[in-house]
């Protein structure tokens, strides 16, 4: 603790107007010192990609940003193993998308399915789900602490602004999101669309065909 007394801290936080002098102070600072020179890529990381530790269906522990997102083209969706609704058709769609993307999946393209029910989806349940759908390497089914999985869901925008609808997890299953982290290009599409169309939309955030990246990674799908 610093010299700032806890009691006065509580008082300061409890009374909103006390923060106003801070704002006024900020306003007097010149714009150059008021704002930070932070890259947009870094701001995206800060805003959307918390470095949470997740566990994959293979039992590996992975840091969300460092190990899973950084420098990659990533595809996100939400599911849970015992889902009887549209999870299975979407997973089947993504199996076909994985096939279309070929051996780049696991190399520079990665697919991540996050459980909406971390309490029941342990590694074994995820492993079973992955095997049942015959997914290939480069596509991970992931669980973590309930708070972390909730954080991830919120950060990645698998939400509904109506609190009642937001509690119904079936509302978070239909959308696939994707992005190219170093290129800072992102998008989303419905998971119930055709696999061909899903793969095409993902290709829009891919590295340019003649780029050094593509030369090093074996070209397009």
């Amino acid at each position: 603790m610093t010299d700032l007394k806890r009691r006065s801290l509580v008082a300061a936080l409890g009374a909103a107007p006390l923060a106003v002098p801070l704002l006024t102070h900020a306003q007097t600072i010149e714009v150059n010192s008021k704002f930070k020179q932070v890259s947009s890529r870094e701001r995206i990381r800060q805003r959307y990609f918390p470095n949470l530790v997740l566990t994959s269906h293979e039992g590996r522990k992975l840091k969300f940003y460092d190990d899973m997102v950084k420098d990659k083209l990533v595809i996100f969706n939400m599911f849970y193993a015992k889902c009887e609704g549209i999870c299975s058709p979407i997973t089947r769609n993504l199996v076909r998308v994985q096939k279309m993307l070929g051996d780049r999946v696991g190399k520079d393209i990665f697919m991540y399915s996050f459980t909406l029910k971390p309490k029941e989806d342990n590694v074994m349940a995820l492993q079973h789900y992955a095997e049942m759908h015959k997914v290939k390497p480069g596509w991970l089914f992931l669980t973590g602490s309930p708070a972390d999985m909730e954080t991830l869901r919120q950060k990645l925008g698998f939400t509904d602004p109506d609190p009642a609808l937001d509690k119904d997890i079936s509302n978070h299953i239909g959308v696939i999101k994707y992005g190219n982290e170093p290129l800072e290009r992102y998008g989303g599409c419905p998971g119930m669309s055709t696999p061909e169309w899903i793969a095409e939309t993902i290709s829009w955030v891919d590295w340019p065909k003649n780029s050094a990246h593509m030369k090093a990674n074996g070209g397009a799908k």
Partner: protein, 617 residues
């Protein structure tokens, strides 16, 4: 501090305070466990603003949710810019061709269908490129990197004229769009584009179909004949004057990426004059003169482009919510590219053309006068299509892409100050709550000061139009021809996916065909009590027949008239009437909350000479 609604203002203040508190706590060396011990991270109440320190669970990375809020800015410091008028070029190199000039790098894939009939009389070239703009005082926000037509936003204002009898193609122009956007997008934006002229009677290969996008380094020639609907069908010669349009705009329409690209700046304005709506207040309908669009002593017809944006708290730079699928609201309100600017006017009548480019907000605009009085004004159009006559109103509501032309009379108001005030409450992307704030309680967007010099006013005073005169402008086309087919379009959400008739948009799926030169009746349905959708149809305007079984309104919030965006509100069903004439090709029907649009709330169709009988495309 942004001028936003009282409720939003409070929320914004709370958020800013929360953000500053967080920084103070970090600076003071408080650790997370200290805050947990203090209970600061679990109690909401007055201690912690709604989405500040602790409204959400703490995760293992030690992060808390940080609902973004723009840095403070001081409103009403800078003048509202008047839009730069687009200038034609002498010639284009290479010269435009009817067939796509693929060898020279044209991204177009369909030949021009009306080029020979209406050869372009003037040529323009717009370069879509990165630019740097100032949106606020330089000590409050840093220079902003945007994508713009010719590097500016809003893009250049096209001032065009319809052809005349005997020479219907006199107004024909060709606009070459070049994609010189950079690969480095600064955090959002896809450098792949297609430009829609909203809502020209344009051959559809030039309309800006969402799937006709073209790549960096390519160009695309858009042929805009600027002809009246009916010119090749019901009204040979010049077309049906009752189909004249006046206030249009153009914007990026890249499938799935329209929201970020328009938000980044790819939007501009377009006006059309003719022998009645002349731009000269001494002739025709005598609407306030356009002049050169710049000189305040001669230009009284002013286009105002509204949008709301968010700027990053740390960097002060324009920020886009990448993973939002609901709709994006900004807390800074821009008019013609400036946050909360000031317009100086003379004591006379003005024509204001209001356009909302979104991304997701609905406005209900009032003119706020001294002492929280509400000044009435004259609404003359819906979506750029003149009404039968000016209608006196106290407000106009417009969602994304809707346009409203109004006449505001500042005669006798010397020295007074007015504000354009949005009083419609909206808290998220779902649409407005329905609550309309009281006078002075809404968001002041533009300050208008009547301190300009006295100048002559030869424009029509709408108050002098006799009450028993039903039609002052063109009147509306009839809605009595029998429709060939009635089709239903249900706009909905399922499992978080936007859908139309339970189906998802896909460029490879053209879901229905309209027979050229026929009439259709469409039914728009929204079964949701939570969401509202501004539904836009390309190429043709509709007239509303019924809303929830009732006729549209000619007064108040006007819904009668020709429109190209239907505001589909909660639990609403509407019947609308279309005529599809003259040209063929592919088009979209879509929600113009551009975030919904980018997540498949769209149906693709085509006009051909066969048509189909699909009633729920």
């Amino acid at each position: 501090m942004a001028y936003i609604s009282k409720r939003n203002r409070r929320q914004e203040k709370e958020r800013q305070i929360a953000a500053h508190n967080r920084r103070e706590l970090i600076a003071a060396g408080f650790k997370r466990r200290d805050l947990l011990k203090l209970g600061l991270l679990t109690s909401a109440g007055m201690l912690i603003p709604k989405k500040g320190l602790s409204a959400h669970p703490i995760n293992s990375a030690g992060m808390v949710f940080d609902d973004p809020v723009s840095p403070p800015t001081t409103p009403f410091q800078e003048n509202m810019p008047r839009l730069t008028v687009a200038q034609p070029v002498a010639a284009l190199n290479p010269a435009p061709t009817i067939a796509p000039n693929t060898a020279a790098g044209e991204g177009r894939t369909v030949a021009h269908q009306a080029f020979a009939q209406f050869p372009p009389q003037r040529f323009y070239e717009l370069i879509q490129q990165q630019g740097t703009v100032s949106v606020a005082l330089p000590n409050e926000l840093p220079p902003q990197t945007i994508w713009g037509f010719n590097g500016i936003t809003p893009g250049p204002l096209f001032v065009e004229h319809y052809g005349v009898l005997g020479s219907p193609g006199n107004g024909s122009i060709l606009v070459r769009q070049r994609n010189n956007l950079p690969s480095n997008n600064g955090g959002f934006g896809l450098p792949s584009v297609t430009t829609h002229l909203h809502n020209g009677h344009t051959p559809l290969e030039s309309d800006g179909f969402p799937c006709f996008f073209f790549a960096q380094g390519q160009f695309y020639d858009h042929h805009y004949p600027n002809v009246l609907a009916g010119v090749n069908s019901t009204h040979p010669g010049i077309g049906d004057i009752k189909e004249a349009m006046s206030t249009l705009w153009y914007h990026d329409h890249r499938i799935d990426h329209t929201a970020e690209n328009t938000y980044k700046g790819l939007a501009g304005a377009y006006v059309l004059f003719n022998e009645f709506d002349t731009g000269n207040e001494n002739t025709g309908f005598r609407l306030p003169s356009f002049g050169d669009g710049q000189n305040p002593l001669t230009s009284f017809d002013i286009y105002m482009v509204f949008n709301d944006k968010l700027f990053d708290e740390q960097t002060g730079l324009l920020a886009f919510d990448l993973f939002n699928t609901d709709g994006i609201l900004g807390d800074k309100f821009l008019v013609n590219g400036k946050i909360n600017p000031v317009l100086h006017v003379s004591p006379r009548r003005y024509r204001f053309r209001w356009l909302n480019t979104g991304p997701s907000r609905f406005y209900q605009m009032f003119v706020l006068g001294p002492n929280n009085t509400t000044k009435s004004f004259w609404q003359i159009s819906t979506d750029g299509n003149l009404l039968e006559k000016p209608v006196q109103v106290t407000s106009a509501r417009f969602a994304v892409a809707e346009r409203v032309d109004v006449i505001v009379d500042f005669t006798g108001q010397v020295g007074k100050t007015f504000y354009l005030e949005n009083r419609l409450e909206q808290d998220d992307g779902r649409g407005p709550t329905g609550n309309v704030f009281g006078a002075g309680q809404g968001t002041k967007i533009l300050k208008i000061v009547v301190d300009g010099p006295a100048v002559a006013d030869n424009s029509i005073d709408p108050a002098t139009i006799p009450a028993n005169q039903a039609v002052y402008f063109y009147g509306f086309p009839n809605t009595t021809d029998a429709p060939r087919i009635t089709r239903t379009f249900r706009f909905e959400r399922g499992n978080g996916q936007w859908q139309v008739n339970g189906k998802l948009a896909n460029c490879n799926d053209i879901r229905f065909a309209i027979k050229r030169n026929t009439v259709e009746k469409w039914i728009f349905q929204n079964n949701s009590g939570g969401w509202q959708h501004p539904i836009h149809m390309h190429f043709e305007e509709f007239q509303t027949l019924t809303i929830n079984g009732n006729p549209p309104s000619s007064t108040g919030l006007i819904t009668r008239g020709r429109k190209d965006v239907f505001r589909l509100e909660h639990n609403m069903e509407a019947q609308v009437y279309f005529r599809f004439r003259d040209f063929i090709g592919k088009f979209p029907l879509h929600c113009h909350n551009v975030v919904h649009e980018d997540h498949a709330m769209m149906v693709l169709g085509q006009i051909n000479d066969v048509g189909d009988n699909i009633t729920q495309p």
